[in-house]
């Protein structure tokens, strides 16, 4: 009944005094948040680099360089970009096919396009990796946080049942600590969702760029046959 006894409601003490289930939920959310931020930064670096390399290669390609010289350079590169790899695969297939006698133009072009498509698929898979993780963190962690909150509030009300005179002071700490789980879930989800949308847009733009490059390269190669 003494009013001077106040509950310590600092974040740390709330987390420390939470029930085990809520603490597990919080730990999982913290892990999810840590990993999602890790992938956010990693993805940022990767996509930025892919864009820069594509810019560079397109500049070289459209500056009128010899195709075989470009091919040799791409072959020798230690860290070739996506566009370089696509070009390399297509050009290698093209030269192999044109050397074989009795191949008509359509067959050569089909083979070249298939080779480029395969490399493109692999590259896209690399660029899109871990985006699904961000998507699931973004969509699931609010629910996980909510689960922790519901559990914590259930506990708080169960404790209330044993007290004769129920006051808000009996439930407030329990509810506060339970709500922290929701807050953590949202804190993990919001950046993940934003990053996912951002990166998905980036990957989409890159894939369109690669697609159009493939079409243009096939045109150029087809012209070379004649």
């Amino acid at each position: 009944m003494n009013p001077s006894v106040t509950q310590d409601l600092s974040i740390i003490s709330l987390i420390w005094n939470a029930s085990v289930v809520v603490q597990i939920v919080m730990g999982a959310l913290l892990l999810a948040s840590l990993f999602s931020w890790y992938y956010i930064f990693l993805k940022r670096f990767q996509l930025k680099r892919a864009e820069n390399q594509a810019d560079e290669f397109e500049k070289q390609f459209w500056s009128g360089a010899e195709l075989s010289a470009l091919y040799h350079r791409a072959n020798a590169a230690r860290h070739p970009g996506t566009l370089e790899r696509i070009f390399e695969a297509g050009f290698r297939e093209f030269t192999k096919l044109t050397k074989q006698p009795g191949m008509d133009v359509a067959a050569v072009m089909d083979g070249t396009r298939r080779a480029m498509r395969a490399t493109y698929q692999r590259e896209m898979d690399t660029l899109e990796s871990h985006l699904s993780f961000l998507a699931s963190v973004g969509s699931v962690s609010p629910y996980v946080g909510l689960l922790g909150t519901v559990w914590g509030i259930m506990n708080a009300f169960r404790g209330l049942a044993n007290v004769a005179q129920a006051t808000l002071g009996h439930v407030a700490p329990g509810i506060a600590e339970a709500l922290i789980a929701t807050a953590m879930g949202l804190l993990a989800a919001i950046p993940a969702v934003v990053a996912y949308n951002h990166f998905a847009g980036d990957v989409n733009r890159l894939s369109i760029r690669f697609d159009s490059f493939m079409e243009e390269l096939s045109n150029i190669l087809q012209r070379q046959i004649h």
Binding site: P3, I11, L34, Y38, I40, L42, Q46, E123, T126, L187
Partner: protein, 283 residues
């Protein structure tokens, strides 16, 4: 080409560090944000409103030692030495030579000379007298001056003595006043807390509906040093004649525990055993 080959270890390390930093930043933000909220809401729970706010306890300043007035050493006034009258050598007239050379004129001139001599002597006498007189006058003036100076010094000394006496008296008065103030402050403090206790109890009284007038009820209470009421010590000294009201006051006293006490632990003794006279309405 797999994902693992595509990402350099350096990028991984940087990403890991950035992610950790991000979380530390969020945590710090949360901790500080929540602690701010706490600081704002906490006082609301413990506020106590008093009808008469106690002024902050005045600490009676220790009486400053008044420096004893320094009696300056009196400059010894030496009367300037009276100027010595200069004795002038009187040139002697060379009379003898004249007598030898002009014996015949001696008799003749004798008279003249004597006359002259007489004149001279007279004149000198006159002069001497004058000088003496002047000297005497000067001495007199000097004496007077000395006398005056003495008087002045005497006056000064008297004045200084009077001042010292006055200062001592003031000091005494100040000390008396301070002592009186301290005593009255203590008395005032006791009175004030008595009133505060009464106010607090009165606020907690749930008056019975059949209460008439402003009856006084007296309770004997023993307090613990924190101001907590010893429940077993609560005794009804003098009933108000209305048992319902007596009980209401008893409940109010228990509800008011801990009672407000002066912060000075030395004053607790006056509050250990309290006779609480409670009226439902303040006069």
């Amino acid at each position: 080409m797999t994902y693992d080959e595509d990402v350099s270890p350096r990028e991984r390390k940087i990403s890991r560090g950035l992610a950790l930093g991000m979380h530390v930043a969020i945590l710090v933000l949360l901790i500080f944000g929540v602690s701010w909220q706490r600081r704002h809401t906490e006082p609301a729970a413990v506020v106590d409103l008093w009808s008469s706010m106690a002024p902050p306890k005045q600490e009676t300043p220790a009486p400053k030692p008044v420096p004893a007035p320094k009696i300056e050493p009196k400059p010894e006034v030496k009367p300037p030495p009276p100027p010595k009258p200069e004795v002038k050598a009187i040139p002697k007239a060379d009379i003898a030579l004249k007598e030898k050379l002009e014996k015949e004129r001696k008799v003749k001139e004798q008279h003249e000379l004597e006359k002259k001599k007489q004149q001279e002597i007279d004149r000198r006498k006159d002069e001497d007298a004058k000088k003496l007189k002047a000297q005497q006058q000067q001495q007199q003036v000097e004496l007077k001056k000395k006398d005056e100076e003495k008087k002045k010094l005497e006056k000064e000394r008297v004045a200084q003595d009077a001042e010292a006496k006055k200062l001592a008296a003031e000091k005494q008065a100040l000390a008396d006043k301070l002592a009186k103030q301290a005593a009255s402050a203590q008395a005032g403090e006791i009175d004030k807390y008595r009133r505060l206790i009464q106010d607090r109890v009165r606020r907690n009284i749930v008056e019975p509906p059949n209460l008439q007038g402003n009856p006084e009820v007296e309770f004997e209470v023993r307090l613990l040093p924190g101001g907590d009421v010893l429940e077993t010590s609560l005794k009804l000294r003098r009933s108000s004649g209305n048992p319902a009201y007596d009980q209401a006051v008893e409940r109010a006293i228990l509800k008011s525990s801990p009672l407000p006490l002066p912060s000075d632990p030395a004053m607790f003794n006056t509050f250990r055993d309290l006779n609480l006279k409670i009226k439902p309405r303040a006069e």
